[in-house]
Subunit: 317 residues, 2 copies
C-alpha cells in the first residue's frame, strides 16, 4: 500500500508498505481522509523521535472487524492502551504507561491506505456527519478535554490565545458554554472566521491584563504563554493546549504570588466531539484550506507548513 | 524606635524611626520576636522593589487595640486588604488588588519595636503555644495552604523537595494527612530532623520518576523544579511553594503530554496553623538555629544568608 513514511526527519511517499494485519482485538480500517496536524509537523522537525507512517486525524471504513463496525465509517482514538497498567486500571487509558499512539509513538499512522487500531478505540461516525467534518473529531475532542479539566460556565471570563486550527476549535467549544469569551490571534482573516460565529476577537493588545479567570494557550510559543499568564486574575487557570518545541521560560514567581494554576491538556472525549458535530454546534468545514491526494502527500506537507495555513487534508483514494 | 530599614538593597539599623500611629481599624503591636524568611533575603537582594522596615513573621503584644486583644500575644496575617475590590468581595483578601503586605509591599514590617496591622489580621496566640513556636505561625500557615488547594490523603504518594525552613514545615504538615511521603534535600542533618519525626527522607537520587501523585517544590531553584516535574505520574500535581529569583525554564511539553497541573501556593490559614501548634502536631522549635537582639539585626541577616541555615530569630527587647 501507499503511505507517508517518516524516518530521520525525512518524509517519503512509499508504495511498498505492507497492508497492516490486525492482531486479535484490532480492526483493519481503510482510510478515507486524514488531516495534517501541528504534531505531524513537529514530528517531521524531529521534536520527538518517531519512525513510521505519520498521521492520526482520520476517517475510515472498517474492512475487517466486528459486525457492528464492518463497512461503516469510523474515527479512532489515537492511544492504544495495554489495559493492565496503573493508569488503565484507573480508567485513564490515554495515559497508559505502555501505550502506542497512532502515527506518534510506535504505531503506524493514518497517512496511508490502511491502518489498524484496537476495536475499542473506534467510534461510528453518525450518518449526518460528513466525512470532512468527521476528520476534525480528534482535534475537536482535544479541545473538549479542557472542559473535562476546568469548570467553564457563564460566570467565567475566558481568553483563547491563537487563531490557528486548534485555537479555532477551542474557541468554538468554549463559546458553547456561554462563558464571556475573547479569542486573540495574529491573522485578520482567521479571526474573522470566529467573528462570523459570534465570537469576540482581537489582536493581543485587546487583552486587559489580570482580568481573565481562564486562559487557553494554543500557540505553542513563549509569547503566547506570557500573554496567557499576564491575562489571568489571581487564582486563575492557564490551560496549556499546545506542545512546545524545546524549553519554555516562564515567570514562575507570578505563578506563586498569584496562586495561578497551569494545567496541561491533551486528548479528549470522542463521543462528545461526534455529538457536537452531529448537532452542528461547531463549524469545522470552513477550516479546510486544501486537499491533496495521498500520492501528493509531500506537497500537502509543504502546504501545511506555510505560515498561517489552517487544515490541509489528505484523501486516500 | 529601632528597626531594620531596607532601601536600595541596603539594610541598616535605624534608631530614629517613628513609632507607628495606627489608623482607625488598626492595632499597635509591640513586637516580641520575629523570624527571618527567605523572602526577606530576596527583598534584600532586590528581587522585588521595597523600601521600608523588613519582616513579616512575628509574635507581639497588642498595646493599642480592641479590649479582647489588648495586652495579649498575637500573630498577624500579612496581607492588609481594602475590603472593597473584586477579590475582597469574593472572600480572597490575600489577593486584594490594593493590598499592602507587612514588610513586603508598602507597609512597614516586623523587624522593629512596633508595627501596625488591621485588627482583623490579628489572631490571639493560645496560652499553650510558646512565643518561639508562635513565630512560625505565618510560614506554617503557608505550608497548610497546600491542603486548601490540593486534596492530600492516605492514597496519595507525595514528594517534598527541599529540606530548608519551608520544606521542613511543608513535610510536617503533609505527614499529618497520612499520605505516603518522601522528603528529599541536600543536607544530611536537616533530613535527620525530619527522620526524627518519622518522615521518610533521602537525597534526590531516592526519587523514582513518574511515581508521585503530588510534588511540592520548596527549593526555589530550577533543579528542584525539574525533580518535582519528573517525579510526577501523568495527571499529577506540582505545587510551587517557593518564589523564584528571575525566570524559570521548564519542559512545557511534558506538562501537556502528561496533563500535569502546576499550582502556585502562597499565604495560608492562620487559625489552622495555631491549632496545629497548640495540639503539638508539628515540631518547630528544633528549626531555630540562632537568636539575635534587634540591635544586632545586621549580624542576624549575615547569619541567615549562610548556606543551609534554618530559622534565625530576632528578639526585640
Amino acid at each position: 500500500m501507499k503511505g507517508l513514511w517518516l524516518e530521520n526527519k525525512q518524509l517519503q511517499l512509499r508504495t511498498d508498505l505492507p497492508t497492516p494485519e490486525p492482531p486479535t482485538g484490532e480492526a483493519l480500517v481503510r482510510v478515507l481522509q486524514a488531516g495534517v496536524c501541528n504534531t505531524d509537523l513537529e514530528l517531521l522537525r524531529g521534536y520527538y523521535p518517531y519512525s513510521g507512517i505519520l498521521g492520526h486525524e482520520f476517517v475510515g471504513v472498517v474492512e475487517q472487524g466486528p459486525k457492528e463496525l464492518l463497512h461503516h465509517r469510523v474515527v479512532g482514538e489515537i492511544n492504544a492502551a495495554c489495559g493492565k497498567c496503573y493508569f488503565c486500571r484507573k480508567g485513564q487509558p490515554t495515559h497508559c504507561e505502555n501505550r502506542t499512539v497512532l502515527g506518534i509513538v510506535n504505531r503506524n499512522g493514518a497517512f496511508a491506505n490502511y491502518l489498524s487500531l484496537p476495536i475499542e478505540n473506534l467510534h461510528l461516525v453518525p450518518e449526518s456527519v460528513t466525512t470532512d467534518a468527521a476528520t476534525f473529531t480528534e482535534p475537536l475532542a482535544a479541545a473538549l478535554e479542557i472542559q473535562q479539566q476546568v469548570a467553564v460556565d457563564s460566570d467565567k471570563r475566558v481568553l483563547v490565545i491563537g487563531d490557528g486550527k486548534l485555537g479555532q476549535l477551542v474557541a468554538q467549544t468554549l463559546a458553547i458554554t456561554g462563558c464571556e469569551l475573547l479569542a486573540v490571534g495574529r491573522h485578520r482573516e482567521k479571526l474573522a472566521n470566529l467573528e462570523a460565529q459570534g465570537i469576540k476577537t482581537g489582536f493581543a493588545d485587546a487583552v486587559i491584563n489580570r482580568t481573565f479567570d481562564i486562559s487557553v494557550e494554543c500557540t505553542g510559543n513563549p509569547e503566547g504563554f506570557a500573554i496567557a499568564l499576564q491575562a489571568l486574575r489571581p487564582r486563575g487557570t492557564l490551560v496549556l493546549k499546545s506542545t512546545y518545541a524545546g524549553k519554555l521560560t516562564i515567570d514562575a514567581s507570578s505563578i506563586v504570588v498569584d496562586e495561578i494554576t497551569v494545567i496541561g491538556s491533551r486528548c479528549g472525549p470522542f463521543p462528545a466531539a461526534l455529538q457536537l458535530l452531529a448537532q452542528g454546534k461547531v463549524e469545522v468545514e470552513g477550516l479546510i484550506q486544501a486537499r491533496y491526494p495521498l500520492s501528493e502527500g509531500l506537497r500537502a506537507f509543504d502546504h501545511a507548513q506555510r505560515r498561517g495555513v489552517l487544515k490541509v487534508l489528505l484523501e486516500m483514494n
